[in-house]
């Protein structure tokens, strides 16, 4: 017992050393991250980044030319439209397309995803809002649903009881549309802080994709065709003002897709790759082009993508020179909110 105790004490001290010494070293040597705001200009067909010069002054550049603030506003009309309106410089058209502030407002969107959103921990309970309540504002439902081996179950929140009738109704329609339980993945925005509701995307055990909504209290299910070779991975329901998209989706080969409305077509976005489990993504989209910013531990990747055909205009890589971290045991991660030995 004496030797076991001494061994355990030694193991504990070793564990502490492997955990704390690297942490202390990395903590003391952490460098200030360099933030650079980069957007794709549809006028230049190039990226414009905000940088800071040696004197600490902010300036914009496309790598070859520097621009003043006013010039930058004009080169990014969809992002700085309010400034342009105030200055009276808002253009009537961009290229051959006539635009208006209202139109820009309707078509602009921002999408963000962080690995922690995907990797969890997340509760397996979902709020299915009423899509057509007749009210301007959406209301939170009185129940939540969960998926089971044989279907979906709605639980009334006030009474903590299962709504058998509703559960059977929704499960029956899903089965009728070809959904095979248990479900392998589910995604949606269970919040009423949006203008409308696109429901949930469900992936069944055969990797079939379905949209589920509640319309006037009854289920709405639509099967979405997925090209045969695609193995779906992460999904992100979107509810942008322009109502032209249902969701962003990734597959196991790290390809990135958008499901468009009203045709429910799954179209590939021509960026090299995106892994929702390891990378964060920000999409600043407008009428003409999207700036897709994918960031991971190695650096940032910027993609300028055509907003209509999702073809890649240009890409930009910004790597960060980071000091090599000391190896050791750690428990937290930027990629999820779990505590694990890493």
């Amino acid at each position: 017992m004496k030797y076991i105790s001494k061994l355990f004490l030694a193991l504990t001290l070793l564990f502490l050393a492997l955990w704390q010494l690297p942490w202390a070293y990395n903590f003391m040597t952490k460098e200030k991250p360099k933030h650079s705001f980069t957007l794709f200009s549809p006028l230049l067909k190039n990226f414009i980044s905000n940088k800071v010069d040696e004197a600490g002054n902010l300036y914009s550049t496309d790598g070859e030319n520097n621009y003043t603030k006013a010039e930058t506003d004009s080169l990014l009309p969809f992002f700085h439209y309010r400034q342009l309106i105030q200055d009276g410089r808002f253009p009537d058209a961009v290229g051959t397309q006539k635009i208006s502030p209202r139109h820009v407002q309707q078509t602009n969107f921002i999408f963000r995803s962080h690995p922690t959103d995907v990797n969890g921990p997340n509760l397996a309970l979902y709020a299915l809002l009423e899509s057509k309540s007749g009210r301007v504002n959406l209301e939170m439902p009185s129940d939540l649903f969960r998926t089971t081996a044989t279907g979906i179950t709605f639980i009334d929140m006030k009474s903590n009881t299962i709504n058998q009738k509703k559960s059977e109704e929704f499960t029956a329609l899903l089965e009728k549309k070809g959904c095979q339980f248990p479900l392998s993945r589910i995604n949606g925005n269970g919040t009423n802080r949006k203008e409308y509701d696109n429901g949930y995307l469900l992936v069944d055990k055969q990797q079939q994709l379905f949209q589920l909504k509640m319309v006037a209290g009854h289920p709405f299910v639509r099967k979405i065709e997925v090209p045969g070779s695609i193995e779906l991975d992460a999904m992100f329901i979107t509810e942008f003002r322009n109502r032209s998209m249902l969701a962003f989706v990734t597959d196991k080969q790290e390809q990135f897709y958008v499901i468009t409305l009203p045709d429910y077509e799954m179209r590939k976005i021509q960026i090299p790759g995106f892994n929702a489990h390891k990378q964060q993504i920000t999409i600043i989209g407008n009428l003409y082009a999207w700036t897709i910013h994918v960031k991971d531990a190695l650096g940032s990747y910027y993609y300028g993508v055509d907003a209509n055909n999702y073809q890649l205009y240009k890409q930009l890589r910004q790597t960060e020179k980071k000091k090599k971290k000391m190896w050791g045991i750690h428990f937290t991660s930027n990629l999820d909110n779990y505590m694990k030995i890493r």
Partner: protein, 223 residues
């Protein structure tokens, strides 16, 4: 003989046990009362959504209580043993020193288990009537690393009390602070689920440290 040792521990700790038990029941009861009152005022559906969207567990008040109870219990049990080297009397008893030491620790462990079971039982008893499985499990599972911290605090504080030299006591204190910090690194609900087996193993490892202190006491180690 284990009964006699338990009898001694009972005499030492009875008032503390009562206070600790009342405290954990009181705090758990207050957590439950908060849920009840919030449900009455805002509606249970609101609480469900708050738990779902913001990861609220309603048991945050319990976070450091098991750790405090574990640490204080060890102090109440073992400080009297070390006063004027009373531990010599205990170790001189015609009973294996190892069995004697772990009988005393077993007493504390059983009491902590009782406290944590009562707390968990009360939480489950009410929460499962108003929340669905995923939600009350979220609350309960969130408390598990805190309860483990209580056990670890008990074992580490015992080792510190039983250690005869101040130098090593300080070393153990520093080690304890870092080890216990591990249980409170992340406040996200259920974040510790994957790490629980490791934490259980680590807690069991620390249960061997009091014996090292007793061996050093028997060998007459001094500052």
């Amino acid at each position: 003989m284990i009964q006699a040792l338990f009898y001694k521990e009972w005499i030492k700790t009875r008032w503390f046990l009562l206070v600790a038990l009342l405290t954990i029941i009181g705090v758990t009861g207050y957590c439950i009362l908060r849920v009840y009152r919030a449900g009455e005022l805002n509606g249970m559906d609101h609480l469900w959504l708050v738990m779902l969207t913001r990861g609220v567990t309603f048991v945050e008040l319990l976070q450091y209580l098991p750790l405090a109870i574990g640490g204080l219990l060890a102090l109440v049990q073992f400080v009297p043993e070390m006063q004027k080297s009373c531990l010599k009397l205990t170790l001189h008893l015609p009973h294996s020193a190892l069995a004697t030491t772990y009988s005393m620790l077993l007493w504390g462990t059983l009491f902590l288990t009782l406290c944590f079971c009562i707390s968990s039982g009360l939480l489950y008893g009410y929460l499962h009537t108003v929340f669905t499985t995923e939600l009350w499990q979220q609350s309960l599972f969130t408390t598990f690393p805190w309860f483990l911290a209580g056990y670890m605090a008990y074992f580490l504080t015992s080792a510190i009390c039983l250690e005869p030299t101040w130098k090593r006591r300080i070393g153990y204190c520093m080690m304890s602070l870092v080890l216990l910090h591990l249980f409170f690194l992340n406040h996200t609900a259920q974040a510790y689920n994957p790490l629980l087996p490791f934490l259980i193993l680590l807690t069991l490892l620390t249960a061997t440290f009091p014996w090292l202190s007793v061996l050093r006491f028997k060998a007459g180690c001094q500052d």
